[in-house]
């Protein structure tokens, strides 16, 4: 079975995003970028399916400017077989991404598409669900366990209050939660080998998707700062302050 893994280039998760002084957006110049952590988990799951003999081919795909080829090479070094770069300089919304991915799904017909549940930049948590809707496939979101059995996939989902298991008919779309697996590191020999793996570049404009914006970014601001707190000396003082000053306990 063929597995498609969409990945996104985002700010490194350890970096604190800074808002531009003109409030037009977040400042990403000279900021360390990386594969979105949830996408890394998606790549790992696909590679594990291949190692288990369930998957035959793993295709990584990324949408964006040329720089995202760096993240595609990382996915190849982690074990993906080939990469597809959909090139565009446009700022895209989840719906646009899902429509472009639907075109790739049409071309490659993967039995399984594994995406991260959300990207840590826009924090939308939409693309996987939208792709499932557009390709009329079942969806297994926030997966912490994925078991492929014949023409079905059992997905254990992290939901409020516990874990829910659903059985989906293949082909299906799965989005990863943090506890699905622990992604591996790319070894140096694999990084070298990844340079020779195929990476196709497709112009986004050639796919016939209307990429006109539906959401306008009016402004981006710093969140309200919390006023500086105090350090108390003892538990007694703490309880006293919570009762008399903050009045949050009685």
């Amino acid at each position: 079975m063929k597995v498609l893994v969409p990945i996104k280039r985002v700010i490194d998760y350890n970096v604190k995003a800074r808002v531009k002084p003109d409030n037009s957006d977040v400042d990403l110049s000279n900021v360390k970028m990386a594969i979105n952590p949830f996408c890394e988990i998606a790549v790992e799951e696909a590679v594990r399916l291949k190692e288990a003999g369930t998957a035959t081919e793993v295709i990584a795909v990324s949408i964006g400017d040329k720089a995202c080829q760096e993240q595609l090479r990382t996915a190849l070094a982690l074990g993906a077989d080939k990469a597809v770069h959909i090139e565009t300089g446009a700022k895209l919304e989840s719906l646009h991404i899902a429509k472009l991915l639907a075109k790739v799904v049409e071309q490659e017909s993967p039995e399984l598409v594994i995406l991260g549940k959300q990207s840590i930049d826009s924090d939308n948590n939409q693309t996987g669900q939208m792709l499932a809707a557009l390709t009329k496939r079942a969806q297994g979101t926030f997966a912490s366990k994925v078991v492929v059995e014949g023409d079905k996939v059992q997905v254990t989902r992290e939901v409020d209050g516990g874990l829910q298991t659903v059985s989906l008919s293949l082909p299906a779309v799965v989005t990863t939660d943090l506890r699905l697996n622990e992604p591996r590191y790319a070894s140096l020999p694999n990084i070298m080998k990844a340079k020779r793996k195929p990476l196709d570049v497709i112009a986004a404009d050639s796919l016939g998707v209307n990429l006109a914006p539906r959401i306008e970014l009016v402004k981006v601001e710093e969140p309200a700062k919390r006023s500086g707190g105090v350090v108390v000396e003892s538990v007694e003082e703490l309880v006293n302050k919570l009762k008399t000053e903050a009045k949050v306990i009685s």
Binding site: E93, V159, Q164, P223
Partner: protein
């Protein structure tokens, strides 16, 4: 303009998030309809009808909606959608699962986790783990939105409005519910609790989380955890507070043995009062804490329990 709010419920009990989503809806328009889909939901439908501002409740009680699977529930919402300019879901795991599917089926961009309504087209939402607040304007004719419940105060109750029972069955052809494993808890729900006490990696193991029980009992608090504590297997993952877990905004949040990584802060920094108990005076949590206590939690917790 008219708003459709998708009710949040579990096992036939209406969840408090619904009244908070209605609060967001009232800032958009006064014509508000609640859709509740599930099985054996009569009581939850009645409760929905008593939320102030709700004009009408549409109740779809059918076994096919028992588990609110995204595949069939999204079809139901799309069928009703044409009468509404705004469709609002709670940004819970259920809402996040279904809303984008609805948006794509309607060919609309979705706006996630709004924390404020500026006008009927313009909303505020946090991005980059809450390190920036974006103001976004929807250019779509119809808006599909998820609402961060912790950012809105629940509205009052009213004399019940009309409930329209709609009989409909949509079985999903491609997905099937298998099982649910619910985490047992007698404490208030994390996202709704007025007080939350959370433990992190500093708790050292799962047994030590029992140290939080006595304090939680005395304060009527829910117990949460950082991702480090969940990943280390100390506690189940539905206790996780943070960017990828639950977003809480209680009156009082007590962080014990939590360093305060940005991903954790994203889940709790809108709490009214934050208390940090940590051995490391340099821990980033102290930068957001209103009251910080630099102490070994194994000494401080029993003392705190006694002092309350």
């Amino acid at each position: 303009m008219s708003v459709l709010v998708i009710a949040e419920h579990e096992n036939g009990v209406l969840k408090p998030e619904t009244a908070k989503v209605v609060a967001a809806a009232t800032k958009i328009a006064s014509d508000i309809t609640v859709l509740i889909a599930g099985h054996n939901i009569a009581e939850a439908a009645n409760h929905s009808a008593q939320i102030a501002g709700v004009q009408k409740v549409v109740a779809v009680d059918d076994a096919s909606f028992e588990h609110q699977l995204a595949e069939n529930t999204s079809e139901l919402v799309v069928e009703l959608a044409s009468d509404f300019s705004h469709i609002l879901f709670s940004a819970s795991t259920t809402g996040k699962n279904i809303a984008p599917r609805v948006a794509a089926l309607l060919d609309k961009s979705q706006i996630s986790e709004i924390i404020d309504v500026i006008d009927a087209d313009t909303f505020k939402r946090p991005i980059y783990a809450g390190n920036a607040i974006a103001t976004v304007k929807s250019l779509d004719s119809q808006k599909v939105i998820t609402v961060r419940a912790s950012a809105f105060d629940a509205v009052e109750t009213q004399a019940a409005c009309d409930i329209e029972d709609r009989s409909q069955s949509i079985a999903s052809q491609v997905s099937e519910f298998v099982s649910i494993e619910q985490t047992e808890s007698e404490r208030p729900e994390l996202t709704a609790a007025p007080v939350v006490i959370s433990g992190g990696r500093g708790m050292q193991n799962g047994e030590n989380f029992a140290l939080l029980n006595g304090i939680a009992d005395k304060l009527g608090a829910a117990i949460g955890a950082s991702r480090a504590a969940v990943d280390a297997g100390f506690v189940p993952n539905d206790m996780q507070v943070g960017q990828t877990g639950k977003i809480v905004a209680p009156n009082l949040y007590i962080a014990v043995g939590i360093s305060g990584a940005i991903q954790h802060l994203a889940g709790m920094k809108d709490s009214k009062v934050i208390v940090a108990i940590n051995r490391d005076p340099e821990a980033p949590i102290f930068q957001v804490a209103d009251y910080g206590l630099v102490a070994d939690l194994f000494d401080a917790l029993p003392e705190l329990e006694q002092a309350l």
